[in-house]
């Protein structure tokens, strides 16, 4: 087994693009679930709308990066409004069922050949990042960063991704410590108490849903800009469930939690993948094939999620008192 390679691949995930993308999606969920108590099981749809919105605006409307970026954000904000108006007045599990149903319906719609003029059907969309990469100040070449060697494009997308994570994290710290954020926490703890203080609970929940959804759409844009391909099959419900795992791993009602959770989660995935593959290659696991290693990884994700929620629902950084799943 090549331990040096295992180490560099695993450490590379620490600042990988997918790590940043999932961190953004999980930060959005932290807004929804951690700070407001909204059970959003359709984060994949928010991310997908960001990704498709960006790609559609670039490819079909021929907008530049800023316009496409804004279009992706608007798409997910509109989706949040449509989801929220009927469901935010209802019990929490209705939002869960409606968001997961809507996300799945969108997933079917993105993949069908019917709307291929906009979505590319099952092939998806590609080559929409030209303008994004034209802002890259780093000269062409391959750079040895100690642990990993990256091209100028890979470095640029990482800088933007982690820059966004930092901006969002700071924004959320400020927001959650503001009176507005305290009202949200109040809603999470006891909706009726907040209502009796004269606050319009519905409006606060809606603001949280839109803001968290927009943050999720940033994650979706980053996710597809790294490879400049966007396929419907990315946005399955497993995407949402992995985001939940990332969130709960770090701690739902924290800002640092989703970021560290994402890094740990992807390093864990890469470590299990490379170690298991190494073991299969040297013949130590005769009952497994290389293709099955990827499957074992996802099995472990499910197991991880179960154990986490049962034994440590507050995650790494959460406060157990603050992390009471109501209901």
């Amino acid at each position: 087994m090549d331990f040096a390679q295992i180490f560099s691949l695993t450490a590379g995930e620490l600042f990988g693009v997918f790590t940043a993308a999932y961190a953004l999606c999980a930060l959005g969920l932290a807004m929804h679930f951690g700070y407001t108590g909204l059970l959003n099981f359709g984060q994949a749809a928010f991310a997908a709308l960001g990704a498709y919105g960006y790609a559609f605006a670039t490819l079909n409307l021929h907008w530049n990066m800023w316009g496409s970026f804004a279009f992706g954000i608007i798409c997910s904000a509109v989706f949040a409004l449509i989801m929220g108006i009927p469901t935010l007045r209802l019990r929490a599990d209705y939002l869960a069922i409606v968001t997961i149903a809507a996300a799945q319906a969108l997933y079917y719609a993105f993949g069908t050949s019917q709307f291929a003029w906009a979505t590319g059907g099952s092939n998806g969309l590609s080559q929409f990042g030209t303008d994004f990469y034209s802002y890259n100040p780093i000269p062409e070449g391959r750079y040895d960063l100690g642990i990993v060697t990256l091209s100028e494009k890979e470095i640029w997308v990482r800088i933007v991704a982690w820059g966004l994570v930092a901006i969002v994290a700071v924004l959320l710290v400020v927001l959650t410590r503001s009176p507005w954020g305290r009202t949200l926490k109040g809603i999470r703890e006891d909706e009726d108490a907040v209502r009796s203080l004269g606050k319009n609970v519905f409006v606060y929940k809606m603001q949280s849903l839109v803001l968290g959804g927009v943050i999720g759409s940033l994650g979706g844009m980053i996710f597809v800009l790294s490879s400049q391909t966007n396929q419907a099959s990315t946005w399955v419900s497993n995407f949402t469930f992995m985001t939940w795992t990332v969130l709960l791993l770090g701690g739902a009602a924290t800002i640092l939690g989703p970021i560290v959770g994402s890094a740990v989660f992807f390093m864990f995935l890469m470590l299990t993948q490379t170690v298991l593959e190494g073991l299969v290659n040297i013949g130590a696991l005769p009952f497994l094939s290389i293709a099955q290693v990827g499957q074992i990884r996802y099995l472990l994700v499910g197991l991880f999620l179960m154990l986490l929620v049962i034994f440590r629902p507050q995650g790494f950084f959460g406060n157990k008192k603050e992390m009471q799943f109501n209901g």
């Binding site: 009927p86 869960a96 149903a101 019917q114 059907g121 499910g302 999620l305 179960m306 799943f325």
Partner: protein, 443 residues
Amino acid sequence: MSRPTTPLGRGWAFMLAAIALAAGLLTVSAPANAAAPAHTAAAVHNHQISAASDPSTWAYSIAGALKLNGKPVAGVTITATLGSFSAKGTSDATGRWNIAVPDAGKYTVTIDQSTLPKGYAVVNPTMTADLTQFSFAPVLFKFGGQVIQTESFGSQLISRVFSGLNFGLLLALAAIGISLIFGTTGLSNFAHGEMVTIGALMMWLLHASMGWPIILAAIAAILITSAFGWAQDAWLWKPLRKRRMGLNQMMIVSIGFSIVMRYVYLLLFNGDTKDIAGGATSVKIGSIDTTNITLWGMGIAAVALVGVALFLTRTRIGKATRAVSDNAPLASATGIDVERIIRIVWIAAAALTGLAGVLYGLEFQANWLTGFDLLLLLFAAVTLGGLGTAFGATVGALIIGMVVEVSNLFIPNELRYAAALVILIVILIVRPQGVLGKKQRLG
């Protein structure tokens, strides 16, 4: 949250042992494992096509033959695309067609329906050709399914309503399971679809693979599913209830459990779609084209549903179940053993869901994702009918089954599940308690 006092360790040891056992079984049941279609969230394929080169030198090819009732079909246009690359081919007098492509990759192969003989259609006009491992990929377009233009709208509608009734009955069996569990324990069980899958896969293993007679295999598959339901409750959900875990938290545990089970199925049974009923004979009733197995399945499902209704309204245990659903503490105070009722509900719900899986597998096909694909339709059915009422779940399932099949007349096949989910969202906006639900169940 109260501190955990009950030993959860033993249950977990069982679960882990079961998974380890499952992994060990791989050596027996899956010696040569083909690359299964990994359902990964992070799967991103990067296609690069060297399109400038000369087509006659291209080393990869996609080919097939078109036959309709045994006769070759000539002059049909077929297109293979990958990213921005696309190439066309036309079927010759022997019905054969061949498209050369430059590079490896997963190509989308589309048949031009307008070039087919008048009045006929293929089941799936868009297929995938996987050229990632081999340089040649066969693609077979099957004629059939919906025949365009030859049938009147009325007879198509009758045939769709019949399919909808059949699908609705299947969904109802599993939806009642979700509904009973939700009613008695409050759990929105996201791992419920996995019980459909286990029913169908056991049917494949015992009937199609090991050759047991169909009735015996079906009974065994249902027994295995109920044992799975019982074990789930005893080792996972009961300890969690004892810990007084919140319902939302339990829901997330069920999501994790669903992921674990799906990948266990994938490891044990591979990712291919299993054809379970080989010897179904076709039956024609008026304009409805069906099979003997479907008719039997509908009859059995209807009898089972009536049985559930009688059980819930006429027997002591059934009445106790409804009492626990209405108010568990009060039921407990009147001397009903709530834990025993929940145990019975889990076993019965699993048996019904297993039956749904068996019938679904026999009438359609099954793979490791079958139950998960149906899960949201089941939730839609339960929510539509009104959360926690068995009768509501049946009505909701019949509505969802109808919507899925009848919508097929107006919208493309891939979007029919989406139609059902959109109906769910619309109904929740108009009537949040569901068609038959009571307002008090709302928060």
